[in-house]
């Protein structure tokens, strides 16, 4: 195995503390021996740097977590100069040279979020306290992202969010040490509305089924705002318990409600079940208000959509990234991921890979692992070549602004991965919202915390 040893915080220190045979008490987090880079939590030693990848390995999102972990592994290999370099070759910033980050070999530790805020925080803490991770990334739900982001802020490390779609991550709960590349429900609403208007007209009545937790509400609010703005009415919005399994009792009232569009604000297993069952109940075959009934899934995940089988055909939704994109960055990533693992990457994998590269790049440009220096390098950073076109990391809320994909379930998939077709690449200007947008109020970034 060419990976090299798995070093940990103590080992890094052991190098520095060599010669000291007796007890040498030092204050935690005051790692004073790293070459000039001091004064922040888990300052890496001269040889290696440890990143923490915190993904769901058990529970309903385990497959998504596994895909994220594949992307992280690939990113680390590319940073260390192994493999074909992937998107490092197409990235607009060319400071990464395959020698790790700032000359330090990149190593990583992994943990299981269990898709629970408690477990995710505990696992992130162990990476920071035990393994000396200087950056945490990953996750597959907004609750976890917000919880871990808060922890990283307090501990003084950088958090590069994985898949998290709720507005709150960079809205109410935004923190100075946290950064999100993934899009959010506001962007989904802005991108989807014009396409839905084009496909279904502006005289429609929508019925929402909403997963009863923060992300679901956020998604419903954004969809209502933008569909109502173009003239749609909202017949009803019903909350469904997370993991309900059988949605029949929520679906049967829809047909006779006077609605002609069903919007499923569900994700993951809920989305698979509610969509499959909506099709079983014949909702797509009926005619309401003299129009063909339509179903919309605002946030699509290709990995999960597989579970719904043929039910997704012709259904509109939005996604952060899709492997059929033809720009050089996406192609390079799909090639490198596909050759390594034998299947194309998911949007979760893409965002995690990109976040890792962005972090490495920011450290290199800043010349330091200090979270405050990294944050400064990321704030207001404009880049390209990572699969989403020109992208801006907005300084005020640490949210990436980039193109959003509107997709539709493919009628005749050519292979098992070819489930979605891109209908529209909504340009960045359309999905950019002002910093004082009312849905994003109630919190503040605060100041960056280096932890020392």
């Amino acid at each position: 195995m060419s990976k090299g040893k798995f070093t940990r915080r103590g080992m890094l220190k052991a190098g520095a503390a060599s010669g000291a045979t007796l007890a040498m008490p030092t204050i935690f987090s005051g790692a004073v021996w790293a070459d000039g880079h001091t004064g922040f939590t888990n300052a890496p030693g001269p040889d290696s740097v440890t990143l923490g990848f915190n993904v769901p390995q058990t529970g309903a999102y385990a497959d998504e977590g596994a895909d994220e972990l594949r992307a992280f592994t690939l990113a680390v290999e590319h940073l260390n100069g192994e493999g074909d370099g992937g998107m490092m070759n197409t990235f607009s910033s060319q400071v990464l040279d395959g020698t790790g980050i700032l000359g330090r070999r990149v190593e990583y530790v992994t943990g299981d979020t269990q898709t629970s805020s408690d477990a995710a925080r505990s696992s992130a803490r162990s990476m920071i306290e035990r393994d000396g991770a200087v950056m945490i990334s990953g996750g597959s739900s907004s609750g976890v992202a917000i919880a871990v982001q808060g922890l990283c802020q307090d501990a003084g490390v950088i958090f590069m969010a994985g898949l998290t779609h709720s507005n709150d991550t960079t809205g109410k709960d935004r923190r100075a040490n946290g950064f999100r590349h993934f899009f959010n429900t506001e962007m989904s609403g802005r991108a989807l509305a014009p396409i839905l208007e084009g496909a279904y007209g502006n005289d429609r009545v929508a019925y929402h089924l909403t997963a009863d937790y923060t992300w679901g509400w956020s998604q419903e609010r954004s969809m209502r705002t933008y569909t109502e703005a173009m003239g749609w009415e909202t017949a009803n919005a019903v909350m469904t318990p997370v993991g309900a399994g059988d949605f029949s009792s929520y679906l049967t009232p829809v047909a006779n409600s006077g609605a002609d569009v069903l919007i499923l604000n569900h994700y993951g297993g809920d989305m698979v079940n509610s969509l499959t069952q909506a099709v079983q109940f014949g909702l797509r075959d009926i005619v309401a208000n003299n129009k063909d009934f339509a179903v919309v899934v605002p946030l699509f995940s290709r990995l999960m959509a597989r579970g719904a089988g043929s039910a997704i055909e012709g259904i509109y939704g939005s996604t952060n990234w899709h492997w059929t994109l033809t720009d050089a960055g996406s192609q390079a990533f799909v090639r490198s991921f596909g050759e390594r693992y034998g299947f194309p990457p998911s949007q979760a994998a893409h965002t995690c890979y990109v976040q890792t590269l962005l972090y490495a790049d920011a450290v290199t440009r800043a010349g330091s692992f200090n979270p405050c220096a990294v944050a400064e390098a990321l704030e207001g950073y404009e880049f390209d070549g990572l699969g989403n076109g020109p992208t801006l990391y907005r300084a005020e809320d640490h949210q990436c602004f980039k193109d959003v994909l509107v997709v539709r379930g493919k009628e005749n998939p050519e292979n098992e991965f070819d489930l979605l077709e891109i209908v529209e690449v909504t340009p960045r200007e359309t999905v950019t919202y002002p910093i004082d947008h009312p849905d994003f109020q109630g919190g503040a970034l605060g100041t960056c915390n280096p932890g020392a």
Binding site: G59, Y61, P253, R335, N415
Partner: protein, 343 residues
Amino acid sequence: MEAIILQVLNGLDKGSAYALIALGLTLIFGTLGVVNFAHGALFMLGAFCAVTLSRILTLSFETIDPTRTDFLGNPMTVHTPYVEAWFGEAVGGTIIDWAVPLAVIIAIPVMALIGVVMERGLIKHFYKRPHADQILVTFGLAIVIQEIVKAFYGANPIPTPAPEAFIGSFDIGQILGFDPYAIMYPYWRLVYFFFSAVIIAAVFAFLQFTTFGMVVRAGMADRETVGLLGIDIDRRFVIMFAIAAVVAGLAGVMYTPILSPNYHMGMDFLVLSFVVVVVGGMGSLGGAVAAGFLLGILQSFASMSQIIEALPGINQVVIYLVAVVVLLTRPRGLMGRKGVMED
């Protein structure tokens, strides 16, 4: 009115799943006195019998089609199921399409075998152990089974559609004299309801009208005395365990088109089925079935938007609320017998 009829149908459908799982659970409780936390896993294994059969039926040989390319631009590999190659595309396709109903035939021996192995290999040694030990060991077993399934099939739900013939909805309303399209119900859910009714009836008939069933019922009532009569009750209990496993498994097989199976679906149903059994009353088969349907129907009504508006969150807690009310008004559930699992 239509809305209420529809919710009753939903409730019957949900209830039949609850009743089937609870039936097996209470059989094991009643006959063996074992608290089986692995019962949800049996339901899940049943569902994966269907998945496995459809995987077997779609076992394919690969040919390279140079005219098409895969996502990396290499020549595409085309998979042709053996079944289609042997029987022709039409017949083969139909066989694959009917994977779920066919899985019922496979699931009966498979689940019975799993049941016997589980009972002989593990549960048998725990008859005389405290309930706490039984919980610990069966919970451990449930986790192990779950993780093995996850290792083979991943964590995402796997689509297992019903046969083409059962796709679509049946217009019940028209028969009852409502407007067309007022009460549409998917064929498969109707099938599921009738299937459950048949299974439940079969289990009851078996226990009621066979000598075997009579001995088992006697054993449930008073195990020691039956043992003193020189009847080998243990051997019969193995068979009961196998029957319980088969019932849970069949509930799982037929449920797959309604709920795409995933590895943790058993845990999701476990707590619910315990609540159903207890609300019905420990050791009462009739109680379990009645409670299953009751909770199913109440849960469906609680999901109506008019009711959620009046009582926010009621759809989340209705099952537990009903459980509390029933247990406080009827000390042993709906039809429980005195002295079973009360100490």
